[in-house]
Amino acid sequence: MNGIPPLFRQPLAIALLLIAVLLVLGEQLSPGFASMQQILRLLIVAALLGIVAAGQNLVILGGREGIDLSVGGIISLSAIIAGNLMNGADAGIPLAIAGCIVAGAFFGLLNGLGVTLLRIPPLVMTLGMLGVLQGLLVVIRNGIPSGRAAPVLSQFVTQPVLFGLPGIIWLWIAVGLLMAFLLRRTVFGQRIYAIGSNEHAAIMAGVPAARIRILLFVLSGVFAAIAGICLLGYSGSSFANVGEQYMLPSIIAVVFGGTSLAGGKGGYTGTMAGAVMLVVLQSILTTINIEESGRQMIFGATLLVLMLFYGRGRAMRT
């Protein structure tokens, strides 16, 4: 780790600092950028991203090059399933939620089985799954309408429900607490770190590595599905590939938050800060009229730079 300034060893601190800097910068570029209302809007988007990133975080922590590229596909699928099952009626919400979670878990399970039983590298497996999901979405779209969000769902995502904060932010806080508890206070959490750091040693110590890894992919699918439902609530109706734009940022948020892509090191608190940081950055880029393609490029470059800083931890200990 020589040569890296000490500050860069504290990902959470950097993320928070960057958020503050970006907000000030945004306010300079366009007055009102850092207004309370704007910040709330940003937090809603950050919550959507943060929920996806929770699953991504788990998969990455589990090591063996763990990564889930299919989250975008699952989000889109979940949004369209939810839109059709509720179709504008509040009564359809429970069924929609159940349906989406089952679908997310199912595709996550396929990812997990492919990675463990068939030993397909996660990158390849989940990329393949993304392709499958995209095809599936085209088929679905040709047959059925996109569906609409139920009013309660839209309200939950966009309107204040408690202490002036929208329900989705509370949901995100709950996810944050759940993740902290899971990773720090459960045996399951410790086993995730164990397989991420030294899978072989973990297995020798009785850790059922394959079962845990499958579960991580299932959880990632479920988190993506939940994000898909919320996304539907956010935009009112689902449209083609709404989820796509979340895949890369979900990975960046995790890495930016200090979780090592090699696995076994990191946590979710940093990821939450990373998600907020990314959303603020994205908003600034929009403010200064940078097109979607430009933003994607900047995000990709950010990931590469992050890898430069954080990716070195793997060097052999001497």
Binding site: R184, S197, N198, A205, G206, P208, T318
Partner: protein, 503 residues
């Protein structure tokens, strides 16, 4: 003039003083032994000389001139080569690439010169002809090798540095007798070339076989140096552990096999690397597995533990046939397996000491929640029974000395006592007094009815602690030594010759 002089070097990590006062004088043409308990600062001292740890204070002179060792590269240029206790090999690279890793021959300054690389590596590989064992090849990736073979590669890599000063930090911990003998032959050759050699080992016989001078280091201080010829093992041990402590006697409670029931019966067990392994193990008994390295001892133990597959044979526990496919199942059935290859099988790198000591406890007690307070309490007796030196449960395991890491790995199996304890060269890297404690503990566990299998690459350890010994050769047990037959001579003879029908 001395080759290398260290004056008053020190190093602290946060609140831990790794080395408080290191003085060392090395002469050309000598093998200088460093001896001290686990965590006394030997590796820290070596790493300072090799430039991979920056000392907080102190001076270094080479050939009488003060030098600054600013990093590993600087140390190499100053003529210092090092064997790292935790090895410094690139896992996915081949043996020959690793041997030449620190100085890759290049073509046109851009491409690796394969032919030169192979030639150069072959010279060092040839030094160990005949003792490298099965599966060892110049083009084998290092992560496919056994622990002893990886250690040989690290030795070759160190030799390939051709440095005038060579530091070996526990190079023999996983080697068997034949490999050690060969290594010592090589060291004697280097000595005649007036190279300077530092050698660290916890095996007393090795120290007396190869050392010229010895420096004793205790609690981070080098306390004295003397010629090996002027001292005796008991005197060294006293200097090492301090006047007060006594080494535990390994055979403290008389072996009390309750002449009882068979705990584990194995017959005709065959699989990759072992064939036709069969024995009955009683409660209270310590069965030794002997022989040269890689003769199937580890492979058979791993198969019993569900870590390797077996293709035929039967295993029964207390009379009931079982088929164990994973370590988790084995642990639930009451097995424990301590591996000497802690880097691969033991240490969960980067995680805390607590996380490293508790996984078996979680499984045996079917716990779902982590309660650090309760876990510390549960782990405390096991960890202190192993006399582990550590600053706190929440510190990362990597901050421990090699021997102390191994103690943590052993301790994880002792929180909830298993019925059958499989020890696969368990003392690798742990010091003399801890070793004595461990064997006293093992004897006591046996006295309480635990059934134990001990494989050791150190013959003395086997002879002193096993009630009977199965000698392996070519993957199968070829001879059983019991009672008076358990002699060093018989052990060697069986290990080397039994394959030709002498049994």
């Amino acid at each position: 003039m001395s080759k290398l002089v260290l004056r008053d070097v020190s190093k602290t990590y946060g609140a831990t003083v790794a080395l408080s006062h290191g003085d060392l004088t090395l002469e050309a043409g000598e093998v200088h032994v460093l001896i001290g308990s686990n965590g006394s600062g030997k590796s820290t001292l070596c790493k300072i000389v090799a430039g991979s740890v920056r000392p907080d204070s102190g001076r270094v002179e080479i050939d009488g001139k003060p030098v600054a060792i600013s990093g590993p590269q600087a140390a190499r240029t100053l003529g210092i080569g090092i064997f790292y206790q935790e090895l410094s090999l690139a896992a996915r690279r081949t043996v020959e690439e690793n041997i030449c890793l620190s100085d890759l021959p290049m073509k046109a300054g851009l491409f690796i010169d394969r032919a030169t690389l192979s030639d150069r590596a072959a010279r060092y590989i040839a030094l160990f002809d005949g003792v490298t064992g099965e599966g060892f090849a110049a083009d084998a990736p290092v992560d496919t090798l056994r622990a002893d073979q990886r250690q040989l590669v690290e030795i070759m890599k160190t030799l390939a540095s051709e440095a005038p000063i060579l530091i070996f930090d526990e190079p023999t911990s996983a080697l068997d007798r034949a490999q050690v003998d060969r290594f010592f032959e090589i060291l004697r050759g280097l000595k005649n070339d007036s190279r300077t050699i530092v050698f660290i080992s916890h095996r007393m016989d090795e120290i007396f076989a190869i050392g010229d001078r010895v420096t004793i280091i205790r609690d981070g201080r080098t306390i004295s140096s003397m010629a090996i010829a002027d001292t005796q093992p008991p005197a060294l041990i006293r200097l090492m552990v301090g006047e007060k402590e006594e080494l535990a006697s390994a055979s403290a409670p008389a072996p009390a096999p309750d002449a009882g029931k068979t705990a584990l019966a194995v017959s005709g067990l065959s699989g990759p690397g072992f064939a036709n392994v069969g024995f009955d193990l009683k409660h209270g008994e310590i069965l030794g597995f002997g022989g040269l390295h890689g003769q199937g001892q580890s492979a058979a133990l791993r198969a019993l533990f569900g870590a390797n597959p077996y293709v035929s044979g039967t295993v029964s526990l207390a009379g009931h046939p079982v088929r164990i496919a994973t370590p988790a199942e084995a642990i639930r059935q009451g097995f424990a397996y301590v591996s000497g290859d802690r880097r691969r099988d033991g240490v969960i790198t980067g995680r805390s000491i607590l996380e490293n000591v508790t996984p078996i406890h979680f499984l045996r007690r079917r716990l779902a929640l982590v309660r650090p307070g309760a876990l510390r309490k549960a782990a405390e007796p096991a960890i202190s029974a192993m006399k582990t030196r550590f600053a706190g449960f929440s510190h990362p395991i990597d901050s421990l000395s090699g021997g102390n890491q191994q103690k943590v790995v052993i301790a994880r199996w002792l929180i909830d006592r298993p019925d059958i304890l499989l020890l696969d060269d368990p003392t690798k890297g742990i010091d003399l007094s801890a070793k004595a404690d461990l064997f006293a503990l093992i004897r006591e566990l046996a006295a309480h009815g635990m059934a134990i299998i001990l494989y050791s690459s150190e013959d003395a350890e086997l002879l002193a602690n096993a009630d009977r010994i199965l000698v392996f050769n070519g993957g199968r047990p070829v001879r059983e030594l019991t009672g008076e037959d358990r002699t060093r001579y018989n052990l060697y003879q069986a290990a080397y010759e039994a394959a030709f029908g002498a049994a």
